[in-house]
Amino acid sequence: MNVIFDLRRGSFALKAEFDLPDRGVTAIFGRSGCGKTSLLRCMAGLEPEASGQLQVAGQAWQRGAWSLPTHERALGYVFQEASLFPHLTVERNLRYGWRRVAPGKRRVEWQPTIELLGLEGLLDRYPAQLSGGQRQRVAVGRALLTSPDLLLMDEPLASLDSDSKAEILPYLEKLHRDLAVPLVYVSHSQDEVLRLADQLVLMDDGQVQTQGPVADVLTRLDMPLAHQQGAKALLEGAVVRQDEADHLTEVICDGQSIWVSQLNQPPGTPVRLSVAARDVTISRAPATDSSVLNCLAVQIDALEADPQPGHVLVVLRLGAQVLLSRITERSRRQLALTRGDCVYALVKGVAVH
């Protein structure tokens, strides 16, 4: 489903076009001020000046300048800033949207949502009596409880501690899967994106720079993410077995095994691994001691100068997936690396999401 939006706001112009899948998480990423909030507001119908195209669950929400009024859109919106009703208690804030959805159409349940967001003790409070993170959790709950067809979340977990995040993220994951609705998620946290997102939309100065599956966008050399200091590649794999003695877990990604710090998950569980470009070196020969170091047979897909002087960024193909490696220009010369070469990637660090 193609989403298009045009909006002028003073000197800033939003001209965004991207593909919104029927389900799954689309993360919107981009520098402060690039138009992420503006785009979400357009999708929610909150920008009367916007024109464009948006269709959700078979219903037209925007067609040219015509726009379905916001309150007729089955959406859930978590604003970037506090947006609780100051005159209602937490409970009545939460019930505000809940009550306005016909009981038959409610697909998100009251009790589990309240519990998972840790809101039981706060129900009688007013927003002014909450901490920043508590307010944010209420806002998330309020949006979810409308059982939306489209979830728009503008940094919903920005002021939450990692424990709270760790509790809420899996819930969000499960929820949007159960509901089978698209979730558009703005976040500056690479961690959250790596964990949650299926698709990444990269914005810059009001325009969509690129979009695609997370693993692709992260590693596209023509895109800025690959050139960041902390550039990472994302690998999808599945748990194969545990090595209790060494506290390691074997994960198979595209037929090759990667050992990670022990995971408490049964074989077969799909996992996402991320590998930082600077944790990958390249060798012409396989590593001698493969039990301690992950050594993957890969093929060089592309090479490009890195912003860090004297360095080169190498894209390595691992079956259908892709890894990034940042090496010095000197090593590239010494090893005479060129496109198409089959080499070994020595991976020094793997994070599990």
């Binding site: 916001t70 309150h71 947006s83 009703f85 100051p86 009596q129």
Partner: protein, 231 residues
Amino acid sequence: MILGIAEADWIALLLTLRLALISTVLLLVLCIPLAWWLAFTPNRGKVLVEALVALPLVLPPTVIGFYLLILLGPRGAVGGALEAAGLNHLAFSFTGLVVGSMVYSLPFVVQPLQNAFQNLGSRPLEAAATLRAGPLDRFVTVVLPLTQRGFLTAFVLSFAHTLGEFGVLLMIGGSIPGQTQVASIAIYNHVEALDYGAAHGLSLVLLVLAFVLLLSVYALNRRFRWVGVAQ
């Protein structure tokens, strides 16, 4: 005589309360769209309307009453039209009083409402819209509670002012007992008749009544007030 107040004065009091209540409530309802428009229109011409709204205050009430009398009377534009339509003109009728006090109290209602609406900000309304609340729903569940104080002020100023209104009402109402003789006119008549005892008595009753009424309104407002603004 009850509490030392003559029956006619009680009737005048009742009439006053009815008048103040009816015209204030009507005014509140009718001014909502105007105040909303003034609060949110980007139209530069709105300053004209803002200035116009305050104008009824500028003339002495008797003179406003005089002009209204001409307008609403049988030879005026409004009264004449009504007569031509087989209805009665509005001078010297309760309806006329309602119209008169509404004209005069207009700024007391429009201005506080406009201020309250302007202070609202768009965020609560946007949030309500994303939660499926339609325009009327938003107005009732978000705008009204958040602008409660503005409505209160509009109510109090218009209501209290109508209780004390005298020049306009005397002019367009005459002083017909039971029909257009409101308490303020009755007090005025007592004073003119140098019957200070009756004037003080009725004034006192009016004051106490108004005080109790306002007190309940304010207390109710306090009671229903939601807790503070975000720290």
